[in-house]
């Protein structure tokens, strides 16, 4: 068998293609309980299930926002949660033609013998969990592998180990009807320039696709969630056109055109930065046989959180902020974002946290 041809093959291909629909992208709302706690505490809100539910309802029920989204990634808890009126979140999404997704990895652990490099856990019992998530309504999954750039990093061990984990995860997902989002995030931390980031990104992606191919993953039923190719966080910034050129070129060199779409992570860029870069990529003239879209977490939610501050009377204002970002990124996938405009508070605030741990 050259690649997965099981009972979900057609569905996987259709769902992966749908997620890459021009004008749409993914909202990453899969923060673990611990991580969402950090977000909530930044606006002085207590980390209770009720507050977590309220935040997610605010987002998913924003009038007019869902048309700009093709998928939402959820944390396990949220997959089973309901609106205040008693409707399952997954049903809200289904009606709005938004595919529910689910984070399935169990976080990173350090690789012994390396300089703080990590691998991602979560393969044990993954098949059974995926089957369960599928019956609960999930149609795609996400697994975040993390690599960093340093004088000797990423090491070949870290690259191989993370690529292997992604490939095993991808195959197990496909066997259980979930489109795997393959996410090899190369952290932006460091003083390196954009050339170094390009070199590392190309090497990592080449290794990932080699592993996916060795594991017989059906590429047409996957998505890639890479970092954009940028200078390091401690290095001078470059124009969006440069980010676009380097990023598209890295993909041209590594990503087969069988993969229908790329959904970029924002990785600590500000809301505006991430949108402007995505826009530049969709305006860039060059071979782009895949869709270029977004899968943003912080870069979609930051100003919304600030506007909400946990207060009921702020919900409408917060939803307006969220809608604005969704619309902006939707336009960016079409290369039509005009930029700037009336930015909400926090839209141009950098969201970079050094050595970010989910």
């Amino acid at each position: 068998m050259s690649c997965y041809k099981g009972k979900y093959a057609d569905e996987l291909i259709a769902n992966a293609t749908y997620i890459g629909t021009p004008g749409k992208g993914i909202l990453a709302a899969d923060e673990s309980t611990g991580t969402i706690g950090k977000r909530l505490s930044s606006i002085n809100v207590e980390n209770t299930e009720s507050n977590r539910r309220a935040l997610r309802e605010l987002l998913f029920c924003t009038p007019g926002a869902m048309q700009y989204l093709s998928g939402v990634i959820l944390f396990e808890e949220t997959l089973y949660q309901k609106t205040a009126a008693g409707k399952l979140f997954v049903d809200v999404m289904k009606e709005a033609k938004v595919l529910p997704g689910i984070k399935v990895d169990k976080g990173t652990v350090e690789l012994p013998g390396t300089n703080g490099e990590t691998t991602t856990q979560g393969l044990d019992g993954l098949g059974a969990r995926c089957a369960q998530y599928y019956s609960a309504g999930a149609r795609f999954a996400k697994w975040r592998a993390v690599l960093k750039i340093g004088p000797n990093e990423p090491s070949q061990l870290a690259i191989n180990e993370n690529a292997y984990g992604l490939a095993r995860y991808a195959m197990i997902c496909q066997e259980n009807g979930l489109v795997p989002i393959v996410e090899p995030e190369i952290l932006v931390d460091g003083p390196h320039d954009i050339n170094k980031c390009a070199d590392v990104t190309e090497r990592v992606l080449a290794a990932c696709y080699k592993a996916l191919n060795d594991h017989h993953v059906l590429l047409e039923g996957t998505l890639l969630k890479p970092n954009m190719v940028t200078p390091g966080s401690d290095s001078k910034k470059v124009a969006p056109e440069v980010v676009a050129e380097y990023t598209v070129r890295a993909l041209q060199r590594t990503m087969p055109s069988a993969v229908p779409a790329v959904v970029f992570l924002s990785g600590g860029q500000s809301e505006e930065e991430a949108t402007v870069n995505l826009n530049a990529m969709n305006q860039y003239k060059g071979k782009k046989p895949w869709s270029l879209s977004f899968s943003f977490g912080r870069a979609l939610q930051q100003s919304t959180l600030k506007a909400w501050a946990g207060k009921d009377e702020n919900v409408k204002k917060a939803q307006e902020a969220f809608l604005a970002r969704c619309k902006a990124n939707s336009e960016a996938t079409l290369g039509k974002y005009q930029g700037g405009g009336s930015l909400s508070e926090g839209a141009s605030e950098s969201l970079h946290v050094k050595d970010y741990k989910y």
Binding site: M1, S2, C3, N195, A198, D199, E202, R203, A206, A207, Y209, K210, N213, D214, L219, E220, E245, Y246, R249, L251, Q252, R253, T254, M255, P256, S257, A258, K287, K288, P289
Partner: protein, 461 residues
């Protein structure tokens, strides 16, 4: 007289001949000639030499590995007012991958000094409506072709045959590149014109076969591997100065023999090393892992093997830091084995082949030039046409040998009076494949000969 100064840039050798005035009648020699050879091996510093005699003539200057493609350029005459640069580029250009000058180019890892030229050459070969004429048969293999029409395998006959092909008027409309065997690269026509010049005039890029053939792979399941890495760098540099701008290396994989993991790994690694060396010496590498037609396997099995082989090939190419914008591929189409009970329609071949390419070939690769591998002339054209019915991320075209030459040989029969007819036959096949590349070919009016299969079991080049 005022000395004339020459500035000799890095990595350049310059040769002067001193010819004395005619010596007195009673001297043993008529004229004295001295060869003065000056080399600048320094990576960064040019130097100057001054000559104070009109009797020194610049004989040649030769760029070594790193500089611009002017190696076969003009002689420069001594005269008082000129102070020419030897080497047309400023010495600020990055002389090679070991340079410590700051990288000016965007693609640091995969840059060599030929990067731009490689990209341009690859794009030229991958131009719409055009493909490659492969005439790189070794002398032995060319002998088989000549024998099939009753001719002896002599250099004169090989010259006559290649001359017929390469002087075909209008060939450059449909052909963008031609792969030559070493003998042909250094040959001239019977009129004394260099074969490479015949090609250049038609805007056809000359290419050169650089591998040294297949030999048995020890420890494998009766499989082969391709030789040719030893001395490849200097051979490639030589071919470049002779006018070649792309190279070809053909390795094979056998489906009935497995293929074994060893054979696939060796094929892919050899190709990757060859590709890196070629680029370093200014030649666009054509990457050719031919999955042989031999066998009775179904098309699904061919797809599996092709996906495995190309996955390995691209991974090793990446490891060897090959620049994908400056390579071309020469894959076999994905078809059932020759002995399989069902033949596949062109639409099926196109579907499976494009699926394979989309799953394995990064869009950065500019062109995919298919080999015909024993298909009939018409089959090869029809399959190519089927693959070009909708836009592809890369130029999808042909690099045919037998599928372009078969009718030509039969028409020529070695007779001088048939040369024009032979050339017409070549042009007709080239045009058919050009139309196929544009997705506009029609099979009406094809001859019976064009439909004849050319599969030879266990075919060795």
């Amino acid at each position: 007289m005022t000395p004339t100064t020459f500035r000799v840039v890095p990595h350049t050798t310059i040769v002067f001949i001193y010819k004395s005035p005619t010596l007195p009648a009673d001297s043993p020699r008529k004229q004295l000639a001295i060869l003065l050879v000056i080399t600048n091996p320094l990576p960064h510093s040019p130097f100057q030499i001054s000559l104070s005699s009109t009797n020194f003539f610049l004989h040649t200057h030769r760029k070594s590995r790193f500089e611009s493609p002017m190696a076969s350029a003009s002689f420069v005459k001594l005269n008082a007012s000129s102070s020419p640069w030897i080497g047309q580029r400023s010495f600020n250009q990055r002389p090679g991958s070991s340079s410590r000058l700051p990288a000016t180019r965007v693609s640091v890892v995969r840059a060599g000094s030929y990067s731009e030229e490689l990209v341009k050459t690859a794009k030229t070969i991958a131009s719409p409506g055009r493909g490659i004429l492969a005439i790189d048969e070794s002398n032995a293999t060319c002998g088989k072709r000549l024998a099939s029409i009753g001719l002896d395998n002599t250099e004169a006959n090989r010259q006559a045959y290649r001359q017929l092909l390469l002087t075909t008027p209008g060939l450059g409309q449909y052909i963008s590149g031609s792969i030559l065997f070493e003998e042909t690269l250094y040959q001239s026509t019977t009129d004394g014109k260099k074969m490479v010049d015949c090609l250049r005039e038609q805007n056809i890029v000359p290419g050169i076969k650089v591998d040294k053939g297949l030999v048995p792979l020890p420890g494998s399941n009766n499989e082969s591997w391709c030789q040719g890495l030893d001395g490849l760098a200097s051979r490639s540099a030589e071919y470049y100065s002779q006018g070649a701008r792309f190279a070809k290396w053909r390795t094979v994989v056998s489906v009935p023999c497995g293929p074994s993991a060893l054979a696939v790994k060796e094929a892919a690694w050899g190709l990757a090393r060859y590709a890196a060396i070629s680029q370093d010496n200014g030649l666009v590498p054509i990457v050719e892992p031919e999955i042989l037609l031999d066998g009775d396997h179904p098309i699904e099995r061919t797809l599996e093997v092709a996906e495995r082989v190309w996955s390995e090939v691209f991974y090793y190419l990446a490891e060897n830091n090959v620049m994908f914008e400056g390579i071309l591929l020469k894959p076999s189409m994905v078809t059932p084995g020759a002995d399989h009970k069902e033949k596949a329609s062109p639409e099926t071949v196109a579907k499976y082949t494009l699926t394979m390419l989309k799953r394995r070939v990064p869009p950065a690769v500019p062109g995919i030039m298919f080999l015909s591998g024993g298909q009939s002339e018409m089959e090869a054209t029809l399959n190519l046409h089927a693959m070009n019915q909708s836009p592809n991320p890369w130029h999808v075209s042909f690099s045919y040998a037998r599928a372009l030459q078969n009718s030509v040989l039969k028409t020529w029969q070695g007779q001088p009076e048939n040369v024009e007819a032979g050339q017409k036959a070549l042009l007709s096949r080239a045009k058919a494949n050009s139309l196929a590349q544009l997705g506009k070919y029609s099979a009406d009016g094809e001859s019976e000969d064009a439909k004849k299969g050319m599969f030879v079991k266990g075919y060795t080049y």
